[in-house]
C-alpha cells in the first residue's frame, strides 16, 4: 500500500467529504485552529520570555511553567484536532505541500527543544528558579522555542496561499 493510496483513502473518508461539502465546516475548523495556535503561542510566549530573562507576573519560573503549561497543552490538543480535520479534508494536497512538510518539521524540533529543556535545565530548576537572568541553558531553550513557534505560525499561514486545493 503506497503513501498515495493511503492519502487518497483518507481523502475519500466520509468525514473528509463532509468537511469539503459543508461550506461552513472548513472556515469554522480553521477559526478554531487560529484560536488554538494563538493560545499556544500566547501562553508559551510568556514562559519562553521568562526563560530568556524577561520577568513574568511571578518570580518563580517553575511555578509559572506549572501554572501556564496546562493551558498550552489543552490549546495544543485543540490545534492538533483541528489541524488533523483540515488535513484529512484534502490529504494528498497537504502531504505534497512544502510549507506543510516544513511546518511539521518545525513542530517536531520545538518538541525536541522542549524535551531537552525538561531533561536538562528544568531538572536543576530549584537552583535558578527565581534568578533573573536565568542560566544560559534556559535562555537558549526559551529563544529556540520562540523562534521555532514563530516559524510554525508563518509556515502555517503560507500553506493557505500555496496549497493546491482540490475542491
Amino acid at each position: 500500500m503506497s503513501l498515495e493510496t493511503t492519502l487518497q483513502q483518507i481523502y475519500d473518508l466520509p468525514i473528509s467529504a463532509s468537511i469539503r461539502e459543508n461550506v461552513n465546516a472548513f472556515p469554522l475548523i480553521e477559526s478554531l485552529h487560529v484560536l488554538a495556535i494563538t493560545l499556544v503561542f500566547g501562553t508559551i510566549l510568556i514562559v519562553d520570555l521568562r526563560l530568556v530573562g524577561v520577568a513574568a507576573h511571578r518570580r518563580s519560573a517553575d511555578r509559572l511553567i506549572r501554572e501556564l503549561l496546562p493551558y498550552t497543552w489543552v490549546a495544543f490538543a485543540l490545534a492538533v484536532i483541528s489541524g488533523v480535520l483540515m488535513f484529512v479534508s484534502n490529504a494528498p494536497a497537504y502531504a505534497a505541500n512544502l510549507e506543510f512538510q516544513l511546518k511539521l518539521v518545525a513542530i517536531a524540533l520545538a518538541g525536541v527543544n522542549m524535551a531537552i529543556f525538561h531533561s536538562t535545565a528544568h531538572r536543576r530548576i530549584a537552583d535558578w528558579d527565581t534568578d533573573l537572568p536565568p542560566p544560559a541553558a534556559s535562555r537558549v531553550s526559551g529563544f529556540l522555542s520562540l523562534a521555532l513557534w514563530t516559524v510554525v505560525i508563518v509556515l502555517g499561514r503560507w500553506i493557505g496561499f500555496t496549497l493546491d486545493v482540490l475542491f
Binding site: 472556515p27 469554522l28 480553521e30 477559526s31 487560529v34 484560536l35 495556535i37 494563538t38 493560545l39 499556544v40 503561542f41 500566547g42 501562553t43 510566549l45 510568556i46 520577568a55 513574568a56 507576573h57 511571578r58 501554572e67 501556564l68 493551558y71 514563530t150 505560525i153 508563518v154 499561514r157 503560507w158 493557505g160 496561499f161
Partner: protein, 157 residues
C-alpha cells in the same frame, strides 16, 4: 456608496497594486497579524483569568495587569498597522464585508471595556481587593474569541 467608491479608488492606487503583485506581502503581513493576536490572547488570558480569580491568586491583580496590559496596547498597535496594510492590499475583501465591520465593532468594544475596567487597576496597590470582575473577565475573553472567528470568516464571505 462612499465606502465602495473609496475601496475602488484604493484598489487602483500604486501601493495597493504593489502589495498584491509581490506575492509574499499579504501572507507575511497576515503572519505578523496572527503573531500579534497571539500576544493579545496570551496577555488577555492571564490577566482576565487572574481577575476572575481562576489563576495566580497569590499575586496582586494590579501586578498582573501592570505586566500584561502594556503588551495588549503594543500588540493592538501592530494589529492596527498590519490590518491597515491588509485593507490597502484588498479593500473589497474587507471594507465591503459585513463580518469585517462586526469585527471592528467588537475590537472597539473590547478596547473600551479594557480601558474602563482594566486600566484603573494599574494604580491598584498590592493590598487592594479587586472589584467583582469575573463577569467582565469572561465577557472580554469571549469577545476576543469572537474577534478571531470574525477575522478568519472575512476570508470566506
Amino acid at each position: 456608496m462612499f465606502i465602495q467608491s473609496f475601496g475602488e479608488w484604493l484598489y487602483d492606487t500604486p501601493i495597493s497594486t504593489t502589495f498584491r503583485d509581490i506575492t509574499w506581502v499579504i501572507p507575511a503581513v497576515q503572519s505578523i497579524h496572527i503573531l500579534a493576536i497571539a500576544v493579545v490572547i496570551g496577555s488577555a488570558l492571564v490577566s482576565e483569568l487572574r481577575l476572575a480569580g481562576l489563576i495566580a491568586t497569590d499575586e496582586a491583580p494590579g501586578n498582573v495587569v501592570r505586566r500584561y496590559l502594556p503588551w495588549i496596547w503594543r500588540a493592538l498597535i501592530v494589529l492596527l498597522a498590519s490590518g491597515t496594510l491588509l485593507i490597502v492590499a484588498e479593500p473589497a475583501r474587507t471594507l465591503g464585508n459585513t463580518i469585517f465591520w462586526v469585527k471592528m465593532a467588537l475590537v472597539l468594544g473590547a478596547f473600551v471595556l479594557t480601558m474602563a475596567f482594566r486600566r484603573p487597576l494599574l494604580a491598584a496597590q498590592a493590598g487592594d481587593s479587586a472589584t467583582p470582575a469575573k463577569p467582565i473577565a469572561l465577557l472580554l475573553l469571549a469577545v476576543w474569541v469572537v474577534v478571531i472567528f470574525c477575522g478568519r470568516f472575512i476570508a470566506y464571505t
